[in-house]
Symmetry: C2
Subunit: 729 residues, 2 copies
């Protein structure tokens, strides 16, 4: 052949082949996951499980121990200079961790005892003079036990009241006072002093009940039955054990509202108008004081009247528990309080790690910072844990980790006084928070034991919590045993064969505003003790005493800080599961199941009363199933499909908020299922409006509340339906 | 050369070239707009302007004329069988247009006169017997004028009341009754009949004022001063002109609330508990009746008492307008009403065209369907227009058009009675609608003239409205003149050199629930007449009379239906602008400007009272500017960036909703800027809470309302800030 032709032919062929190849390569070969290789594929990227592992393995018990020790070396009560100082500590740490940090403050009504003059309860006999005058301070066992605020009941007024009549009203529940009045007569309660034991209900309600029944003053004390179950000898109490010693006294707020008392509904900003203290009915009006059982024992011996029934009896030795009346030996009892109300600044610290893909969705972890005394358990176990969480996330951030959604950390002020810091913040920013928060995870009292993690949450978080729990080691248990494994051993629902997680959080800590006003799906967790081993102790015995010091935790609760470490790992990895998963891992079918349980727990005389609500819940259950079914055919690479699905999940929890709350005086109690009922007459799982109506027994009111609850359940169903088919036919 | 080697070399070279080409083509050449060519590029696609043009050019005046003629050939009052029948007509049309259609019904409290016995006003003299007994029906001019409901005031009770005292109270405004009482004495008003002329304020308030001042009954009439401004001879009134003839009577509701009277707050679903009529204070309690001025003229001649001032005088000939008192010639006046309350079903029709990309965002067009008589103007001008809009969109849909966001069309029942159909729907689905609706566009009385389009809207819609108006031809104007051009000629703000668009919609039609409860950014429009040419007529004179027939529109208002066509084009293309633009074209800086105007219009004795609010508005203005500035560097190809931006726009309008409304009895009046004030004492632009407080003159109340308004403005600012920087420092 002619070489020249061959060469020309070859060159032509090569050029052609090159061109054809380019064309084939550019148009013909689909990029594998072609959408994934584009600029926006990351919008729907799956969570990287490595982040969970990195986080978990980086949490260090030793750091939490160090932080707890430091944070509890100084008092940090709300409103005093230490409020700001402790806030600055958090602020510095969070700035170091790379968060965007602010320290918003609110001027709020607080309350303090007198630094120099302790509040006192004095028992005098007509002949012999003072039988006992309480010390007003607790015995010091421990150098850690720095001088902190004296025992007092915040917001109870100053003043001196005395009476020759002393009554004992058990736990001060409404039924206790009612029973007492039926026994001794309403008239004799007027102007008396009433002594009640701590436990069962919020202390503010005890004082209010006594006030409502006409008492001039109230005394609270911790009975050993509930706080020193193994006896009161030194070897059975602090500082030998972690039970309450005789002079231990529980401080706390006696205000029955939430948020700054002078600015209900609206935040206590500089421009906000304020109520006058005198017009706030949720502030107590009778001088009241908490005392230790050592002193209470002396006083109770002078109770007159008949003996109480067995279930009213405490376990103080040499005391016959009686209803009371005129004190024996013509004695009189006096409560003298030097408390004062003051308007003070309290600080929240807010730190935000901005999300990279959906920065307008927030996963929030929070805890209050303020403590009555040194607060090693309440709340600083949680604060120290939170600081380790942010430390690890800050390190990850330095190494390139960017959360999909924003992570928000909150250190609340003035929680002890009435959830004040968190409520004011939520009231101020409700328009932002309500639209954007996925979940709030509370770390108040993160650790008060080391047996298992006790969790309360919205039902929709169940699966995500399980997922997190399967990744995190259980404290002080054999290697490999996870939090989940421990649950299945010691905290399992035998009917469902799943871990027990309580649904509905209550009103005792800062998740309350998130439940009631924001409408996010929230979580509260505490590593806690085995109640059975502690004679069913209600709470840890040294709660709100000056014995909440570092060594309490180190010696009796979590010596190696493994429970704290687990709490840090669990809460942090749960936050990451929620922030990183493109599709929010919220399981709404759990809500349907829970609603059925709740409606079955309602106790109407006529079962048909609840029919509309049952129907609505059945519909909800079906609609939820259909929603979940539809989501299975979702295109998970379409950023809008997952965003729209996620938005429906967010809207669901908010569908349960009644904008009007429970009425003009309780407009912040908005969650139709989980707001606290006004009456506490029997244990109820939900639907406070219906619960109250049943207790009140007014037929038309029951029907009305059932109709309203039905309305909200049906509204929730409508949010889950297809976008062009949400109208009931 | 050796051919064999050459050939092998060539083949190798070709293969190599092919391979290299493929590699170059696959990896080396970036696809132009590589993100745009992927599967999800359409998520951020720009609106196709061709859709706007196609829509505009497809709207046909002739179709609207045909529909109006058909729809006004049968009565369609709320609650009677024709309510459902007229709903079925809409339903069929919308199914034909490809919408997902439902017909939700509500059982609500309505009111009707007696079919056989007309309500009557009778003037009798002691000697001569009946001087006049009103006919109770209007004169028939026109075969179109089918028998429809007799003139009555809905919800006024049945009964017979009479008195020898008749008073004239001008327009029945609060200041009119107050003035009258000051002249004749409160005591003499008790048990009297009070006659008032239509105009200025809602008729329900006239009746309530008369009731409040002690009247036993009320009579309303249309004075020629407001309804027949060129005289009352046949050549100056219907059916020669479009002004009110002597027997024309204005029907209407006298209920001063909104939504079903028996289910405030909650929707009137089958399971909802209902109030009893007797407990609803917004229902009138005195028999009342509307009459024509022909009959009123006879009655007014018998008014006793002193002459009224000039601004109280109407223009009835041979009448001396007096305050009243004992009727002349010892006459007595009787109002006899056979009205009845009834619980009836009313229907909404809802049609949805599901969006393709963001189906969870709704652009809504709506109008009520019910009319007192044949309603050719109110509301059917709007219904016929709406049917043409859906026809065109349905055609486009058949041809492949898919809206980005969902389009929702609503035909409301029972609006005339008190916005009932729309309010019940909104109350029922607030959890869906509140989260998802961008805008509601109302077409009630779409056309009552052909001079210019009068628009009221939320400030943020301004720019989008202008954009639409520049695309749409102005009716009966030279070719090429757009709606915008006409505005700049005859309806321009000379200071800003922009068209006048009123901000704030009021409470007269179905946008009210969308403003107050949903929180979307809404619009109401009417092609209207030149007031200057009609002696500043308040509304079209034949409003709510039986003369609202097809020929009224054909002869006097819009002979070629070009105004209807323009309304269809304008409203439809505005809906498309809102549904198709990836970035919502809402201009929030307009809100800042409007807020400044509003606060400047508030009239406090102490200007410093408003300082916190002014500061908040200044901050809002600055934050809005920064938001707009940041949006300029938005990556408009990132579906999440535009979605997050759009969500902030949606959240802004909702930031102005106070969940508690104006108080327990007005909890549905939630918009802090645009809810109607309780007092009407002076013209105000917004902030009803502050307005009412200023009128009441209580300093502490003013301060409180200013603080609350400040709170909401600051809250709105926080929604516009960066996601990690929304906390005020």
């Amino acid at each position: 052949m002619n070489s020249k032709f061959l060469i020309i032919g070859a060159l032509l062929g090569i050029s052609l082949a090159l061109g054809v190849g380019i064309i084939i390569g550019h148009f013909g070969i689909r990029k594998t996951n072609s959408s994934m290789s584009t600029k926006y594929a990351h919008l729907t990227r799956q969570a990287d499980p490595q982040n969970y592992q990195t986080f978990i393995s980086s949490v260090r018990a030793a750091n939490i121990e160090t932080d707890l020790k430091d944070l509890t070396s100084r008092p940090h009560i709300a409103g005093l200079p230490e409020d700001l100082e402790s806030a600055q500590v958090i602020e510095e740490r969070w700035k170091r961790d790379g968060l965007q940090v602010t320290k918003p403050k609110y001027n709020v009504l607080l309350s303090y005892p007198d630094d120099d003059r302790p509040n006192r309860v004095t028992l005098r006999s007509a002949d012999a003079g003072i039988i006992i005058e309480t010390e007003g301070v607790e015995h010091v066992y421990d150098p850690d036990q720095i001088k902190t605020v004296k025992p007092f009941l915040a917001y109870t007024p100053n003043g001196t009241v005395s009476s020759t009549k002393l009554f004992y009203a058990n736990y001060g529940q409404l039924e206790d006072l009612t029973h007492l009045a039926s026994v001794v007569g309403n008239a004799s309660l007027q102007g008396s002093i009433i002594i009640m034991r701590y436990g069962r209900i919020f202390r503010g309600d005890k004082v209010m009940h006594a006030q409502y029944f006409g008492a001039a003053g109230a005394i609270l004390y911790n009975d050993p039955s509930d706080y020193a179950p193994f006896g009161t000898t030194p070897d059975q109490v602090y500082d030998q054990k972690w039970y309450l010693p005789p002079s231990g006294a529980q401080r706390g707020s006696a205000y029955t509202g939430n948020g700054d008392p002078l600015t209900p509904i609206y935040p206590s900003t500089d421009y906000m108008t304020k109520l006058h203290e005198d017009s706030v009915n949720s502030l107590p009006r009778i001088p009241s004081q908490p005392i230790g059982y050592g002193e209470a024992q002396v006083i109770l011996k002078y109770l007159g009247g008949n003996e109480v029934p067995a279930d009213w009896r405490g376990t103080l030795s040499n005391v016959t528990y009686r209803y009371g009346g005129e004190l024996l030996n013509t004695s009189s009892i006096e409560v003298k309080s030097f408390n004062r109300l003051e308007r003070k600044d309290t600080y929240n610290v807010i730190g935000i790690m901005k999300g990279e893909i959906e920065p307008d969705r927030y996963i929030v972890i929070g805890n209050h910072r303020d403590a009555w005394s040194l607060g090693s358990v309440d709340p600083t176990s949680g604060t120290a844990t939170m600081l380790e969480i942010t430390r690890v996330l800050g390190e990850m951030h330095k190494n390139g980790f960017r959360p999909r959604r924003s992570l928000m950390f909150c250190s609340w002020g003035a929680e002890e006084y009435g959830l004040i810091g968190s409520i004011e913040y939520i009231q101020e920013y409700v328009k932002v928070l309500g639209a954007r928060i996925v979940s709030y995870m509370n770390l108040d009292i993160a650790v008060n034991g080391a047996y298992y993690v006790n969790i309360k949450s919205s039902p929709v978080l169940f699966d995500a919590i399980i997922k997190a729990a399967k990744m995190v080691p259980s404290a002080y248990d054999p290697d490999g045993q996870t939090v989940y494994d421990k649950w299945m051993k010691v905290h399992r629902n035998d009917i469902t064969n799943e871990p027990k997680i309580a649904f509905g959080l209550g009103s005792a800590s800062d998740y309350f505003g998130f439940d009631q006003i924001v409408g996010s799906s929230n979580y509260d967790a505490t590593y806690t003790f085995n109640r059975a081993e502690h004679k069913n102790l209600g709470s840890y015995a040294l709660y709100h005493t000056s014995y909440e010091v570092f060594s309490l935790v180190k010696k009796f609760i979590d010596p190696d800080f493994l429970a704290h470490q687990t709490m840090g790992q669990l809460t942090g990895v749960l936050a990451l599961i929620l922030s990183e998963s493109p599709i929010l891992p919220l399981n709404i079918s759990r809500y349907a199941f829970t609603l059925k349980e709740i409606v079955n727990s309602l106790n109407t005389s006529n079962p048909n009363d609840l029919d509309p609500l049952r129907d609505a819940i059945n519909e909800f259950s079906q609609v939820a199933d259909e929603f979940v079914e539809r989501s299975k055919s979702m295109d998970i690479e379409n950023p809008y499909e997952i965003r729209l699905y996620n938005d429906q999940l967010l809207q669901l929890e908010r569908a349960f908020l009644n904008p009007l709350g429970q009425g003009p005086n309780d407009s912040d109690m908005k969650h139709i299922i989980y707001a606290p009922p006004k009456t506490n007459a029997y244990a109820t799982m939900g639907f406070p409006g219906i619960t109250d109506a049943i207790v009140n027994g007014i037929k038309i009111e029951i029907a009305n509340q059932v109709a309203i609850a039905t309305f909200f359940i049906r509204g929730a169903s409508s949010t889950l339906k297809e976008f062009d088919k949400f109208i009931a036919t």
